[in-house]
């Protein structure tokens, strides 16, 4: 598959044509929040967006979605099938998060039809990160600013144009239908390699090597007594996290008519594990913080062989009390001998 290019001035035209066939999700600023939204027109897209504040997991796993509607005790309908989708401008970290989410929702035992239908129906066009943020640590958790994992196409910013690389056959098929793409020169492909090397160099983060084994023996470590203390339990970290996927199922309406809805939820909330009897296995912030860290770096690895963190840095950027998961990872590396964080 030969590389192509698309001039930035041609993107609007490409999008206009794309929108005729597909639902396009791209970085858009609405009400002051940058997230992946359904594009209403080509002029809405924010091309130079870094990691958006909202993770694109919403494209596949919406904050709130109807599972079915009911009336008089009978299920009336499930949501109709959706148009094919293209996500344009997804960053490599977020693209890797779809692989993490696939393991949960497209499992060997149970498949979640709402998520799986959208995933199968969607192409991912990634924007390489030539200019990673200071909070990015993708390279520390197995990714990279030019990683192609989970992508159908990778676009690299070359100034007035993007270099366009097809990663999958689906990606290749998509661009052959549109006239805006021209052949890339060897020089353009080389320029990408230089940018990639520079960008990768810029990203740093703590090593996660051996973290799963380390955490395995740390459940009862005093480490957790202090770690959670400044946490407010607001769950911003899990709502913004591209891999967090816990949800609640509730009925809205009345017995006569209504809908069953799935909403995002978070292990950082006290009620998350609260039994009807009043018993709660995770009574304080300590247990809840431990659950979040353990789930990402230990339990998920045990179940699926991968860390459930892609290093996007959203939780680092948006935490109201500056909890930094990179510092947590680093502290885990030094902990486990029974010592307290404050003793170090």
């Amino acid at each position: 598959m030969d590389n192509r290019t698309i001039e930035k001035s041609a993107i609007a035209g490409f999008l206009d044509e794309l929108l005729e066939t597909y639902q396009v999700f791209a970085p858009v600023e609405r009400e002051g929040i940058l997230g992946f939204e359904l594009l209403r027109g080509s002029d809405e897209i924010v091309l130079n967006a870094h990691n958006t504040r909202q993770a694109p997991k919403e494209v596949f796993f919406p904050r709130s979605e109807t599972l079915f509607t009911f009336q008089e005790g009978k299920i009336i309908s499930t949501p109709p099938a959706e148009k094919e989708r293209v996500v344009l401008g997804i960053r490599p970290c977020d693209a890797r998060s779809t692989i993490v989410l696939d393991k949960v929702f497209d499992g060997d035992d149970y498949q979640d039809p709402y998520y799986v239908d959208r995933r199968q129906n969607t192409l991912l066009i990634g924007f390489a990160c030539g200019d990673p943020l200071s909070t990015c640590f993708c390279t520390a958790v197995g990714g990279g600013p030019f990683s192609v994992d989970g992508l159908d196409l990778l676009w690299t910013d070359l100034g007035d144009r993007y270099l366009v690389e097809a990663i999958t056959e689906r990606g290749e098929a998509l661009i052959t239908d549109y006239p805006q793409f021209g052949q890339a020169t060897a020089q353009e492909t080389n320029r990408k390699a230089v940018t990639a090397a520079q960008a990768t160099e810029k990203v740093s983060g703590p090593s996660v090597e051996g973290i799963t084994e380390k955490l395995d023996g740390m459940y009862d470590d005093p480490f957790w007594d202090e770690l959670h203390q400044k946490c407010l339990g607001c769950a911003a970290c899990s709502y913004l996290c591209p891999t967090c996927h816990c949800f609640d199922i509730v009925d809205e309406g009345t017995v006569t008519s209504g809908r069953r809805v799935r909403n995002w939820d978070s292990c950082q909330f006290a009620l998350f594990t609260h039994h009807a009897s009043g018993h709660n296995p995770r009574t304080s912030g300590k247990e809840r913080m431990r659950q979040r860290v353990m789930h990402k770096f230990s339990y998920f690895v045990e179940n699926f062989g991968e860390i459930a963190c892609v290093g996007c840095g959203r939780c680092v950027r948006e935490c109201p009390v500056n909890m930094d998961i990179r510092a947590v990872i680093e502290a885990i590396g030094q902990a486990g001998d029974g010592s307290r964080i404050s003793d170090r």
């Binding site: 009911f70 009978k74 039809p113 816990c246 017995v255 006569t256 292990c267 995770r282 339990y299 998920f300």
Partner: protein, 280 residues
């Protein structure tokens, strides 16, 4: 077409049985409205399902009937929260939703050929009642060894499945020990806590499995009794409860370490639990 695990089967409440004096435990006998529903819901002892009252919500409940009961599925529900209260308000003939069965259930292949010691307290008897009735079925009885049941409740009025207890008491092929915590007028059965009675019964661990389900305090004091009898941790089965939503290992709230109670459980050996965080 992918099966949608979130869609409940429509079922009718054929019969409601009030189980206790406090009037907060009822058994619901459910029949499928659609042809083939019963077959799709083929279950094992120890599994659970999500009961739906549309417009109110869902809750996970252990299956109380035996897989040998072919014409209905039964659930015994204590009135505790929003959904269980709505269930308690239902009348016979009402229509509700049912999805499942979920969870691993009891390891029947391993239990076959063994002596079975069932230890149950209070309302947590439900899936063990399923197991007891399954073993006692004429088609199955020969495939299991001795069956011992130790079951207790606070008062005689709080014993559930009295109709089963009476029927079992008349049989020769089950050692039944029913106890209540304190003396009560008109009660001429055993008096004492389940762990004490279990100690007196002193079941042999020889080729045996113990299956324990009950309030935490009963479990806490019964496990040492079983250990003293010589039961290995790998031969003691427990069934856990946890707050759940999806029932299929996705919603993320019922885990204990890397295990999901809905999918990897609810049945765990004591040995498995000893290898997991004490977070339940």
């Amino acid at each position: 077409m992918m099966q949608n695990p979130y869609l409940p089967y429509p079922v009718d409440v054929r019969k409601v049985t009030l189980e206790n004096e406090a009037k907060d435990i009822k058994t619901f006998e459910l029949v499928f409205q659609e042809d083939g529903g019963k077959e799709r819901f083929a279950y094992r002892c120890g599994q659970f399902a999500e009961l739906s009252v549309l417009g109110v919500g869902e809750c996970p409940i252990g299956i109380a009937s035996s897989p040998m009961d072919t014409d209905s599925v039964q659930f015994t529900v204590k009135k505790v929260g929003v959904v269980t209260t709505a269930l308690h308000e239902l009348e016979e003939g009402a229509s509700i939703g049912l999805r499942g069965p979920y969870g691993n259930g009891f390891p029947m292949d391993e239990l076959e050929g063994s002596n079975i010691v069932i230890v149950a307290g209070g309302f947590a008897f439900t899936t063990l009642r399923s197991l007891t009735n399954y073993i006692l079925h004429p088609d199955n009885r020969d495939r299991f060894g001795e069956l011992t049941v130790v079951y207790g409740a606070r008062t005689p009025g709080e014993l559930i499945y009295k109709y089963d207890l009476e029927a079992w008491a008349r049989r020769e092929d089950i050692q039944l020990h029913v106890t209540v915590d304190t003396e009560h007028e008109g009660w001429d059965g055993l008096v004492g806590f389940v762990p004490t009675v279990l100690g007196n019964v002193a079941p042999s661990p020889e080729n045996a499995f113990a299956v324990v389900c009950g309030p935490p305090v009963m479990i806490r004091f019964s496990l040492p009794v079983l250990a003293q009898q010589g039961f290995q941790a790998s031969r003691i089965l427990n069934s856990l409860e946890m707050r759940m939503k999806c029932g299929v290992g996705k919603c993320g709230r019922c885990n204990i370490g890397e295990k999901y109670v809905c999918k990897n459980g609810p049945v765990f050996t004591l040995e498995e639990l000893q290898g997991l965080p004490q977070e339940y």
